[in-house]
């Protein structure tokens, strides 16, 4: 694996395979020089068997900003094979007449806690946040994911084909996130998006200082106690990470005795190397501006600010910097840093030329992110921000894919990409529309009207409501 000393954004470009994982055999060859295995819990996900399918007569949003009326889409060998208005079905290929229905790329939620805060939300299931210290960059969310979370099945019924599962936001550095295909599996490895980059969850503002500074009611608690302490905490960690990185760079260049491993610094150095993408929980505009400066100070880049309730106040600066904002349509007021929420946040960010993403952070919201986008789209229209629906869909698929470094493989209906596709019962900007069929890598993984194609997790077997309409 080559090292990237530049910004993490490099990881999201065409060089992704080289920079962020990719060919496992190459990795094995280079592991001697690397000193240790960067991918010890590799994906075992394989696309399920699928036959070619031609979807016809659909209103297609291609995910890249285009709308095709009476469109056709050919899925073959798990990939998007062709898209257009006049595609002939190859011999023997199943055709789905989608008259009156809409077709889009699968939705990608880049902020989920499915699996780490699963249903039922009993105390034994609280595996989403290692609150034991303000810096826990050493933990990986995949080690807390319970693949039997029934929430995954509700999400697929909402057209979710991939998601990022993040650790919680108590800590300055919460740990690594993991990108999953929304395909049920006995193991989390069986869900991991192949060769996706790792991500790092960080958090601004109230959460870290409340959890540590106030010590859950014990006064005085530890650090950080204030937003000043938050930033000092990040900077101290980055200084340590830079030193750690220098040692490993020297080892890679000169050989000799490998430096001592430090799990926490492995992750932080991975960010400085450009291998790991930073996803930062941050509500307030002024704090995001400080974080952007801090990232320049240490030579990395924030892939996306999450929640970003005040992004509309600095949308121009976010556009200049090149960070995405992962936002709710309308959440507000539950804490002080969420007080200035406005319903037009998402369209205002988009209007400024910055990357806008609709995220859920919720096992309820993830089931209808299309409706959340619709609300934001509509509120934007009414405020004079005219964004076509086909462009607004980038908030749901392509932009989150970019923020996760997987946009070369999914997030739009471009030929060659993974056939992650949803057939909607109608216009997905309507409350009445539902996902009829969901394809992941070309395999039909959800079909609303066929109970045998509705997954039921172990937890729900033998319980009241098993296999019911959900």
């Amino acid at each position: 694996m080559r090292r990237f000393h530049g910004l993490a954004a490099a990881c999201t470009a065409a060089l992704l395979l080289a920079a962020c994982g990719g060919d496992d055999s190459k990795k094995a060859d280079s592991s001697a020089k690397e000193g240790f295995d960067r991918n010890p819990y590799p994906s075992t996900y394989q696309p399920y068997p699928n036959d070619p399918v031609l979807i016809t007569n659909a209103t297609i949003l291609d995910g890249e900003g285009n709308l095709i009326e009476d469109g056709s889409l050919l899925l073959k060998d798990g990939k998007i094979s062709a898209i257009g208005s006049d595609i002939k079905a190859p011999d023997g290929v199943e055709t789905i007449d989608a008259s009156g229905r809409w077709v889009t790329p699968g939705i990608i939620d880049n902020h989920s806690h499915l699996g780490v805060y699963p249903s039922p939300g009993v105390s034994a299931h609280g595996d989403g946040n290692e609150i034991s210290a303000p810096v826990t960059a050493e933990v990986w969310s995949e080690h807390g994911v319970w693949p039997q979370d029934p929430g995954f099945t509700r999400a697929i019924a909402g057209g979710i084909t991939s998601m990022q599962v993040l650790p919680g936001s108590a800590n300055l550095f919460g740990g690594r996130g993991v990108i999953l295909k929304n395909v049920p599996s006995r193991t989390v490895q069986g869900m991991k998006f192949p060769d996706a980059p790792y991500t790092l969850k960080m958090a601004c503002g109230e959460n870290p200082k409340r959890v540590y500074g106030y010590g859950a009611g014990r006064f005085p608690g530890g650090a950080p106690y204030s937003r000043m302490g938050n930033v000092a905490g990040y900077r101290q960690a980055w200084i340590k990470a830079a030193e750690y990185k220098r040692k490993w760079d020297k080892f890679a260049d000169e050989g000799g005795e490998p430096p001592a491993r430090d799990l926490e610094l492995d992750t932080l150095a991975g960010v400085l190397n450009g291998d790991i993408l930073v996803h930062m929980h941050c509500y307030r505009a002024d704090e995001m501006a400080q974080i952007m400066d801090m990232s320049k100070e240490f030579g990395y880049k924030v892939a996306s600010f999450h929640h970003a309730v005040e992004s509309y106040k600095i949308a121009d600066k976010l556009a200049d910097y090149g960070a995405c904002s992962s936002m709710w349509a309308d959440w507000w007021g539950f804490k002080m840093e969420a007080y200035d929420g406005v319903r037009e946040n998402i369209p205002l960010v988009h209007k400024a030329g910055a990357c806008a993403i609709v995220h859920s952070d919720s096992d309820v919201g993830i089931q209808r992110l299309n409706q959340e986008a619709a609300k934001a789209w509509s509120d934007g229209q009414k405020a004079g921000i005219d964004i076509p629906k086909e462009v607004a869909w980038t908030w749901l698929s392509l932009n989150p894919a970019k923020s996760l470094g997987i946009e070369d493989r999914t997030g739009s209906l471009k030929p060659g990409k993974m056939a992650d596709v949803v057939i909607w019962s109608g216009d997905p900007f309507s409350v009445y529309t539902k996902a009829d069929q969901v394809f992941i890598d070309g395999a039909l993984m959800f079909d609303r009207d066929h109970p045998e194609t509705n997954p039921v997790m172990d937890f729900e077997l033998g319980q009241p409501g098993e296999g019911d309409r959900k």
Binding site: I314, A315, G333, F334, L348, A374, F429, Y432, K470
Partner: protein
């Protein structure tokens, strides 16, 4: 179920009416009345002072000189059937949060109307999404008894129309078990003891200040609900818990019970219908979020409607700031089998009937003039109100959020910082 405890509101409503008679004519391409008139295409609603005087078709005679409002849809003002709006400004800031009192020595006597702030930003923010009335419940602190909720208009006026002590709110099920000492049976014992205390008030308190469950003031406050003279809203979700509530209702036949939560209500829907016990549900609930919600389904509403249960839909879970999302929940219930009529009723006529709000929740001659004009189907996520009328007065469609939006529609600071912009 029509309740009549709200007679006093009519008098208050009249007292708060504007001094000058005003006549408003609303014309809707679709007028949903919530009455036997059904849905009227190209309908007309005429308001005089604080009352609706006429509801009819396009040829309805209208008075001269009226203010005319045209819209795609006209409906009764929505009623937030279970909210905490106006009790809290910022949830996580205790100094601004009057939803609960974990350290109070009182319980059933906590009167949420004492904490209502018509200036709370959430009131405007909820009103401009089409809500004209809020049913506001306190939350529980250290017992199963949260205290007494109220009904208020969303005008944001300091003299807002408030019906205090409209109901008592009590938690059973998992939450109740935790609050009552650790088990469902301890919660039920606590409730029975409190009913006993309150029903024997004041005799039991002649020589003592403390009863088996309630102190003197709490027993006095709970005595109206315990004697069936005040609504009792009980939170429960699991089918067996709903049966336990219905068993209690049979044991104490004078209690006037409403169940909130009721995620598994569809499993006991026939009994709820026979006993005429209404429920308030969260139509999004479809996850086994706890062991008392294993059979939660987004078809709960549709199945309750089929069984003839009276039900309202509310955004239970974020009741303070996002009560405004109930139409989205109702729209999703339609996507899961509920009729559009029943969904609109679950936001208007049903909560009015459940809480005894006579003359609210419907467009009918003589009804209170809480009316909303919409730019589209109110259940659609892309629709929003173009006019909100409370007691005959057109309300502002501004909120702190719209002011913030308007300030930041432009980020230009070449002349002055944004802080100087107040569009």
């Amino acid at each position: 179920m029509i309740r009549t405890l709200f007679a006093s509101v009519a008098a208050i409503g009249l007292a708060a009416a504007p001094a000058l008679a005003e006549t408003i004519v609303l014309r809707g391409e679709t007028v949903w009345t919530g009455t036997a008139q059904g849905t009227i295409p190209n309908g007309v609603v005429v308001i005089e002072d604080d009352r609706i005087v006429t509801v009819g078709g396009e040829n309805t005679e209208v008075p001269d000189g009226a203010t005319e409002i045209s819209a795609a849809w006209v409906t009764p003002g929505l009623i937030a059937a279970f909210s905490r709006t106006g009790l809290v400004e910022v949830s996580a800031e205790d100094s601004t949060n009057d939803t609960m009192a974990a350290n109070s020595k009182f319980s059933t006597s906590l009167n949420a109307a004492d904490g209502f702030n018509p200036d709370a930003t959430a009131v405007d923010i909820t009103r401009i999404e089409g809500f004209t009335r809020l049913v506001v419940a306190p939350n529980t602190g250290n017992t199963i008894f949260a205290g007494q909720g109220f009904v208020a208009d969303t005008s944001g006026d300091l003299d807002a129309d408030i019906d205090a002590q409209a109901f008592s709110f009590i938690k059973l099920g998992e939450s109740g078990a935790g609050l009552a000492g650790g088990s469902r049976q301890s919660a039920m014992a606590m409730l029975r003891a409190a009913l006993d205390d309150a029903r024997t008030y004041p005799a039991r308190y002649l020589t003592h200040n403390e009863g088996a469950a309630l102190n003197r003031l709490d027993a006095l406050s709970f005595s109206t609900a315990a004697r069936g003279q005040q609504l009792m809203v009980i939170q429960a979700s699991r089918a067996s818990d709903l049966n336990a509530v219905m068993d209690l209702a049979e044991e104490y036949p004078n209690l006037d019970i409403i169940i909130v939560g009721a995620d598994e209500a569809w499993r006991v829907a026939d009994r709820l219908a026979i006993m005429d016990i209404p429920v308030i549900i969260n139509a999004f609930s479809n996850l086994p979020s706890s062991f008392e919600q294993l059979a939660a389904t987004s078809e709960n509403a549709a199945r309750l409607a089929d069984a003839g249960v009276t039900f309202a839909i509310a955004n239970i879970g974020d009741e303070s700031h996002q009560a405004r999302l109930a139409p989205q929940l109702a729209g999703n219930a339609v996507a899961n089998g509920l009729s559009s009529d029943d969904a609109l009723a679950a936001l208007t006529t049903a909560p009015a009937d459940i809480f005894g709000l006579t003359g609210f929740g419907r467009l009918a001659p003589g009804a209170h003039a809480d009316v909303v004009a919409w730019d589209g189907d109110p259940l659609e996520v892309v629709s929003s109100p173009t006019a909100v009328i409370i007691a005959g007065e057109a309300q502002s469609l501004e909120s702190r959020q719209t002011r913030l939006r308007d300030r930041y529609l432009s980020l230009d600071e070449s002349e002055r910082p944004r802080a100087y912009s107040r569009p």
